[in-house]
């Protein structure tokens, strides 16, 4: 027996093709997901060099960022957005890459459809030209975002040149209280360690609270890992994982499935494996979180108040807080629950899955969206939409006054027509509250789906536990 290894060590070791120099390795990539925004220049690079896609069968493409969520039948009206989606379609046809078109029910946000289709499996290396590729780590796969030059590298070689990251473990213990979700846990962690807290590391999430999460919850947690600066997030696969994968279209079929599960069961950190950094959190003490500023680390329990720049010891943080308060139009000391919102956005690769929509329905059933609030729900994929409609959730949403849209990234980054106007304030289930993220001058408060639902009903940030 060799030294005890972490889950990350194991996946890394089993994918090293060669060592180049010092710390640079050629790492094999099992799955490459592609979307329209970060791939055109990569395909063009291949074309210019006369190169092919090495493994079209391990590659998968879908358009999500530019896709309108209303009147999709009419196509895309913005000429630049249309060109980008058309370019993806032409590139996938030319290079033989499987592609879900804009009229396919199975389309959606790339990080939602990977798991949904069984393209995401434990022990794999998965990359995509998108930082939230970390989502797929929920299955115990090593998944991270890459730049467009690296997309081209993976297309051409099915490998990536990488340095190994360090190991970090975040252990979340205790029972998760009612009203607290994976999103709150993620915000609490980022609030604690900061947006650079995981830089240079791969984070493994452990502890009974993490184990108790559904696959949807685990995906939310791993999705937000990139906001903590880590390269990837990982959760060792278990029965919950295997159960989720079973029977999905691209998952191993009977026979191969059993063989795969036997291997997947070995995918966990060994007793005594070394972590360079350890963080612990007690879930039972958590209450729902919201962000007040323009960085995901600006996260506080909903019962708190907007901080003052002077509250920060670090000079850089003080400056950032001052700038954030100005941008967000908030005054230090005001209660977070007094912040009024005029928009609510429910969706994105963080919280656009069926479980998220069920949580929203539970809160808004029999209630009304406040008349000052513009609230939209954008399912993460066509299949999530179909499922929600089969459960009658869409009726609950529409009756409450939400707009029920077609799938896509939508107002998570506002590349399509869904965006905030300057000064608009939004409670959002997405992942980034950066300046201008949801539209130039728009103000974002990150929350869980249940908290977003509560804000929609009351018109201000609200502790969902009070709505019962």
């Amino acid at each position: 027996m060799g030294n005890p290894r972490t889950l990350y060590d194991k996946i890394w070791d089993s994918h090293v093709v060669d060592q180049l120099e010092d710390e640079a390795y050629i790492l094999y990539i099992d799955r490459h997901l592609v979307h329209e925004v970060t791939s055109p220049q990569a395909f063009e690079g291949l074309r210019n060099a006369g190169r092919k896609v090495r493994r079209p069968d391990a590659t998968f493409a879908v358009a999500d960022h530019n896709v309108p969520t209303k009147d999709i039948e009419k196509g895309i009206t913005d000429p630049e957005s249309k060109l980008q989606v058309d370019t993806l379609e032409a590139n996938t046809a030319e290079f033989g890459v499987p592609y879900f078109s804009m009229t396919d029910d199975r389309r959606g946000i790339v990080h939602i459809i990977g798991p949904e289709q069984g393209l995401t499996l434990p022990g794999m290396t998965i990359v995509c030209g998108d930082s939230h590729t970390s989502t797929h780590g929920a299955f115990g796969s090593l998944a991270h975002g890459i730049g467009t030059s690296e997309v081209e590298h993976v297309l051409a070689t099915q490998t990536l040149v990488q340095e190994k990251a360090k190991n970090m473990r975040v252990t979340v213990k205790g029972e998760i209280p009612l009203g607290v979700t994976a999103k709150d846990i993620a915000l609490a962690i980022i609030g604690k360690i900061g947006t650079a807290g995981g830089t240079g590391h791969v984070i493994e999430y452990a502890g009974d609270a993490v184990r108790s999460l559904s696959m949807e919850g685990r995906m939310t947690l791993c999705n937000m890992t990139i906001e903590a600066g880590a390269r990837a997030g990982l959760i060792a696969p278990d029965e919950t994982t295997f159960e989720y994968i079973k029977g999905r279209p691209y998952a191993p079929k009977a026979g191969a499935y059993e063989q795969a599960v036997a291997y997947w069961k070995t995918l966990k950190s060994d007793e005594g494996a070394h972590f360079n950094k350890e963080v612990e959190l007690d879930a039972s003490e958590l209450i729902p979180y919201v962000t007040w500023g323009t960085s995901p680390e600006d996260a506080l329990p909903i019962t708190g108040s907007v901080p003052a720049p002077a509250d920060f010891a670090d000079e850089g943080k003080r400056g950032a807080a001052e700038r954030a308060l100005k941008y967000m139009g908030l005054t230090a000391g005001m209660k977070l629950s007094d912040i009024e919102v005029d928009h609510v956005f429910i969706g994105s690769c963080t919280n656009g899955r069926i479980e998220d929509l069920r949580a929203v329905a539970k809160i808004v059933e029999g209630r009304k969206v406040k008349d000052t609030v513009n609230a939209i729900i954008v399912p993460g994929s066509g299949l999530v939409k179909i499922q929600a409609e089969a459960e009658g959730l869409d009726k609950i949403f529409v009756a409450a006054g939400f707009e029920w849209r077609q799938p896509g990234c939508s107002m998570c980054l506002a590349m399509n027509p869904d965006k905030l106007a300057p000064g608009d304030r939004c409670a959002s289930t997405s992942n980034r509250n950066f300046e201008g993220r949801q539209g130039q001058g728009g103000r974002t408060h990150l929350v869980s789906p249940a908290m977003a639902a509560a804000a929609a009903v009351t018109g201000h940030l609200t502790d969902v536990r009070e709505l019962g």
């Binding site: 220049q41 370019t87 191993p252 191969a256 980034r432």
Partner: protein, 201 residues
């Protein structure tokens, strides 16, 4: 990719922490299908007013820094989205080197693929360089990648660390894909073994 070896240039100070890639290049400019032409949109929302005219107090709009080729910035530079449009925009503007106390992982990698040198320094050195940069166009900073040195306007020298593979790539302007393709037989060998061990993949 353009090689990088030595550079002497004006450095623009941006004493902000967590400068994210949404700030560096806002999403409305991600709809391009080319790598070039993004320089005019670099930091667009900080650099221009709503009517499109320049925000005079933004550093890159000040006469002293219009030709800056080095950026000195606060901690965690390049966090957020993986968009390579961020280094493309920096490069197209003319920035060849960014100095900070830390960089986000994906942005850091993206720089090396585009001939931009990201340099990590201590907080103390950053503060000194920030002060130097604030002195404007007369205070140029020199970078020597081979020697791994930053030379300030007063002749003070700061040594920096960089991993040897990335250093080599920048110094030679290497085509990384070409390099990996030379190892194609190793990849094929790997694939064959994997097929036996994990046939479901």
């Amino acid at each position: 990719m353009e090689k990088f070896n030595k550079l002497t240039a004006v450095a623009a100070p941006m004493p902000l922490v967590n400068i994210d890639t949404d700030m560096i290049i806002p999403k409305q400019y991600l709809k391009t299908i080319q790598r070039k032409g993004l320089g005019k949109n670099l930091f667009a929302e900080m650099r221009y007013k709503d009517d499109g005219s320049e925000q005079e107090d933004f550093v890159l709009n000040q006469p002293a820094y219009r030709n800056a080729e080095i950026l000195i910035a606060g901690d965690n530079f390049g966090c957020g989205s993986s968009r390579e449009h961020a280094p493309w925009a920096l490069l197209d503007f003319g920035i060849r080197c960014v100095i900070s106390t830390s960089f986000a992982d994906i942005f850091h990698n993206n720089c090396f693929r585009n001939g931009i040198l990201p340099i990590e320094v201590s907080q103390e050195d950053l503060s000194k360089l920030m002060e130097d940069a604030e002195r404007g166009a007369n205070a140029t900073i020199s970078i020597d990648l081979e020697a791994q040195e930053i030379r300030g306007p007063d002749g003070g020298v700061i040594q920096f660390e960089i991993d040897q593979f990335n250093k080599h790539c920048l110094l030679t302007g290497l085509d990384e894909i070409g390099l990996t393709l030379k190892k194609e037989n190793k990849v094929t060998e790997y694939e064959e073994t994997r097929k036996m061990q994990q046939p479901w993949l």
